[in-house]
């Protein structure tokens, strides 16, 4: 700044500074008010639409709608995506409201295959046209699964014997989880269902968990995998049931064709020891996160034999 700066020039500079401040703030205000933006650009590619609706190429795989449909799809649709990615056929889920409904769809040929409950499958007549072909593997590579007696963290219940006079929530009575406590667990502790205050069945396993967490029931029985998932949210596992096979993939022997064989082949090809397959299956329902192995009716029933005998239910 020149030393001989005179007051009039100072005034001009001050006025210029003021004008700059006003102009700058006006420009900034205008820019701030223009909130136009996209958090990510929209893709310009053509959408990947579904495969053409060709019924001869559709393989329908049944799932019992134990959860809300969007959850079922989130857990099972990736399995269909895997099959679609490795097959010329289009595999799609077929939701059933119950195990009975799923079995009916298999018998009528509406569905080519279906994931049924292990208990229900064990009760199929020996001459039934429905037969299990795959059972899921657990983390150890075995095919045994458990159900768990759960309580809320801090509960005084330490064993099945402590359930006397308590309110107990169970899943569907047509599932092994819903049956085990009544048929085997209570008896082993010298209790009868009438010794409990309440024994109520719910449609979904999650419902049982929420009832226990909310304190509306003192204890509940769910799949072990679900009990582990909620362990960090205030659940405690009291005891586990004897081992049973996981939910098998069941087909109708009468309608078995190349499409069904292709589905079985694709699922058997999954290897939990393969990192790529392991990553793929990580997003699936936890029951199928470690792949499958083949099974036939005789082996499947033999896995259930002891348990059913102990529970008073002949195989």
């Amino acid at each position: 700044m020149p030393a001989n700066l005179k007051p009039p020039l100072l005034g001009l500079l001050a006025a210029a500074l003021l004008a700059l401040v006003v102009w700058g703030n006006a420009a900034i205000h205008a820019d701030l008010m223009d909130i136009r933006r996209e958090n990510a650009p929209l893709p310009t590619i053509q959408a990947e639409g579904p495969a053409p609706a060709d019924s001869s190429q559709v393989v329908r795989v049944g799932v019992v709608s134990r959860f809300a449909p969007n959850i079922i799809y989130r857990l099972y649709q990736p399995i269909m995506d895997y099959c679609n990615a490795h097959s010329a056929r289009r595999h799609q889920l077929s939701l059933s409201v119950s195990y009975s409904d799923a079995a009916r769809r298999l018998r009528t040929g509406e569905d080519e295959a279906s994931f049924l409950g292990a208990l229900m499958c064990s009760r199929l007549p020996r001459d039934s046209e429905l037969e299990p072909v795959l059972i899921p593997l657990n983390a150890d590579g075995g095919s045994e699964f458990h159900v768990a007696l759960i309580v809320k963290e801090g509960s005084p219940i330490r064993s099945v014997a402590d359930l006397a006079g308590r309110r107990v929530a169970l899943p569907s009575q047509k599932s092994f989880s819903g049956m085990w406590l009544q048929r085997a667990g209570l008896a082993a502790a010298n209790l009868k269902p009438s010794d409990l205050d309440t024994l109520q069945h719910f449609k979904h396993h999650e419902t049982v968990v929420w009832q226990v967490l909310r304190g509306e029931f003192d204890a509940g029985v769910v799949k072990e995998s679900l009990a582990r998932r909620y362990r960090t949210r205030g659940l405690r596992v009291v005891t586990l049931s004897p081992a049973i096979p996981g939910p098998p993939l069941v087909i109708n022997r009468r309608f078995r064709d190349e499409a069904v064989d292709d589905l079985v082949r694709l699922l058997l090809a999954l290897d939990a020891g393969n990192p790529a397959d392991r990553r793929l299956m990580a997003s699936w329902t936890q029951e199928f996160a470690y792949g499958f192995r083949a099974v036939d009716r005789e082996e499947f029933l033999s896995l259930f034999e002891d348990l059913l005998r102990n529970s008073g239910e002949a195989p």
Binding site: M1, L5, N25, I35, E38, L42, T44, A47, P50, D81
Partner: protein
């Protein structure tokens, strides 16, 4: 120096920086806050859209699986959501082929729905877009794919009004503007006051500098301060003390130089005096030889004795005057006669001048007022001027010594008819050690010392000269008593 200008300049410069910093800070904060607000709006819109899409997806799955559902279930969902969330302006559900599945009855739609349906259906995940609709209203569009794995049921597009967030941004902008303006104003006011205080201190220092008495060395008192201004004050005081000391040292050095110059003048005189003293001595010796050669000639002896007495008396007189001049005496002012002092000096240099047949014309005014001066110093001045005049004229030249009285001063003029002094040298001849003489012939201090002496006596020493027409040195001294009958010269 214009202090208000300096204050204004500093205020303008520092104020500009403060304003710039405040503006940049405010704008930075605003943009960052706006980013957060818009992100929050987008997150909220996506959360609402996701919640809505769950219900829609279930309904579409049931429909896809062939289950019976209440008639118009999606319309009910849309109505419920729009009733519960007043910021929703439009909800549209498209099937995987881009066909309309359901939509709200509000006609206002965001920019998203103006895109090709294929673009919306290809969106891999939730997206938001903030833009203006055709009427200029700001809307936040959220697109939520209805997808599970690779199975698609279409997309949901929900438009939320975005004017609220713009109003919020504008409000915060003006609040921040007011706040930053207030802070800036306070800072500038404090700066103005601080500058006034600092510059006031400098003005005090300037006043003190003006009031310094260089004769007595007195420095006016300044307030005690412990800050930088106080250090400046202390520096000024020390400078005053050093100035006094320098002045004392200078005066001492000048006295020594004056004495040295007087001795040098004596040296110059000695060469002339040697001749004056030797002449009578040689005469006395010749007289003695003559008396010894003819002791019986009483008449001759008496004549030679008279000549010897006269010669010795002359020599003694010269020596007495020389001793009187060379002896260093205490300096003291006294009323003296300028004419008498001039006559004394003329007698001292007479031998030197007469040797070169230089004629001295005395034009001394009678009844001259006396002056207050130191006799020795004034003699030295006159002798310097006369010797310089003698050196300036050729052999046989003329020197005029003139005294005049004025109303309050007396004047002594020493005029020669030498070569004169060139115009360009007239300003330098009073400088110390300036000389036009040959090396060894002069110290160059005579005129400088003379000027110092005359100024110390309250007078002036000037020169007037035309090349080839000689030079006139004029000494003017204040008269100790007013002249009764003469006008100022």
């Amino acid at each position: 120096m214009s202090l208000p200008g300096l204050r204004g300049r500093i205020l303008l410069a520092v104020g500009s920086i403060i304003i710039l910093i405040m503006m940049l800070m405010s704008w930075g904060i605003l943009y960052r806050w706006r980013q957060g607000e818009l992100t929050r709006e987008e997150v909220t819109a996506l959360a609402v859209s996701r919640a809505f899409s769950v219900a829609v997806l279930d309904a579409l799955v049931y429909e896809d699986q062939g289950y019976d559902q209440p008639e118009g279930v999606l319309d009910h969902y849309i109505d419920l959501f729009m009733t519960q969330n007043h910021r929703i302006r439009n909800i549209t559900i498209l099937d995987p082929q881009g066909g309309l599945v359901a939509r709200s009855w509000e006609s206002r739609t965001g920019s998203l729905l103006s895109r090709e349906p294929e673009q919306l259906l290809a969106v891999p995940g939730p997206r938001t877009i903030i833009d203006q609709d055709e009427s200029g209203a700001w809307l936040l569009d959220a697109v939520m794919p209805l997808r599970s794995g690779r199975h698609s049921w279409g997309v949901v597009v929900i438009s939320f009004e975005a004017e609220t967030v713009r109003d919020r941004i504008s409000r915060v902008f003006f609040l921040l503007l007011i706040f930053s303006s207030a802070v800036t104003s306070i800072l500038l006011l404090l700066l103005w006051l601080m500058l006034g205080r600092i510059l006031g201190s400098l003005l005090g220092l300037e006043t003190a500098m003006e009031a310094v008495d260089f004769e007595s060395g007195h420095v006016p008192p300044l307030p005690h301060r412990s800050d930088e201004i106080g250090r400046l004050y202390q520096g000024f005081r020390r400078m005053g003390e050093r100035l006094q000391q320098s002045r004392r040292d200078l005066m001492g050095a000048e006295k020594q130089v004056w004495h040295a110059e007087r001795l040098a003048a004596i040296g110059r005189l000695a060469s002339g005096l040697a001749h004056e003293i030797n002449n009578p001595i040689h005469g006395v010796r010749n007289c003695i030889y003559a008396i010894k050669a003819d002791p019986g000639n009483r008449e001759q002896t008496a004549e030679y004795l008279d000549m010897m007495e006269e010669g010795l008396a002359h020599a003694a007189d010269v020596i007495d005057k020389l001793l009187g001049f060379a002896r260093k005496q205490d300096v003291g002012l006294e009323e003296i006669s300028l004419n008498n002092t001039t006559g004394t000096v003329l007698r001292l240099v007479r031998f030197r001048l007469e040797r070169r047949r230089i004629q001295v014309r005395k034009d001394l005014e009678g009844d001259l007022p006396r002056v207050m001066a130191d006799t020795q110093l004034l003699q030295e001045v006159i002798m310097n001027l006369l010797i310089n005049a003698g050196d300036a004229v050729r052999d046989g030249g003329h020197i005029t010594v003139r005294t005049r009285a004025g109303r309050h001063a007396v004047r002594l003029e020493i005029q020669d008819d030498g070569q004169g002094i060139p115009q360009d040298l007239q300003d330098q001849i009073f400088d110390p050690f300036f000389t036009t003489k040959e090396p060894g012939q002069g110290t160059g201090l005579g005129l400088s010392i003379s000027l110092g002496i005359i100024q110390a006596l309250g007078g002036t020493l000037t020169v007037a000269s035309e090349p080839g027409a000689g030079a006139t040195f004029t000494v003017t001294l204040p008269a100790s008593e007013p002249s009764p009958d003469e006008d100022e010269a």
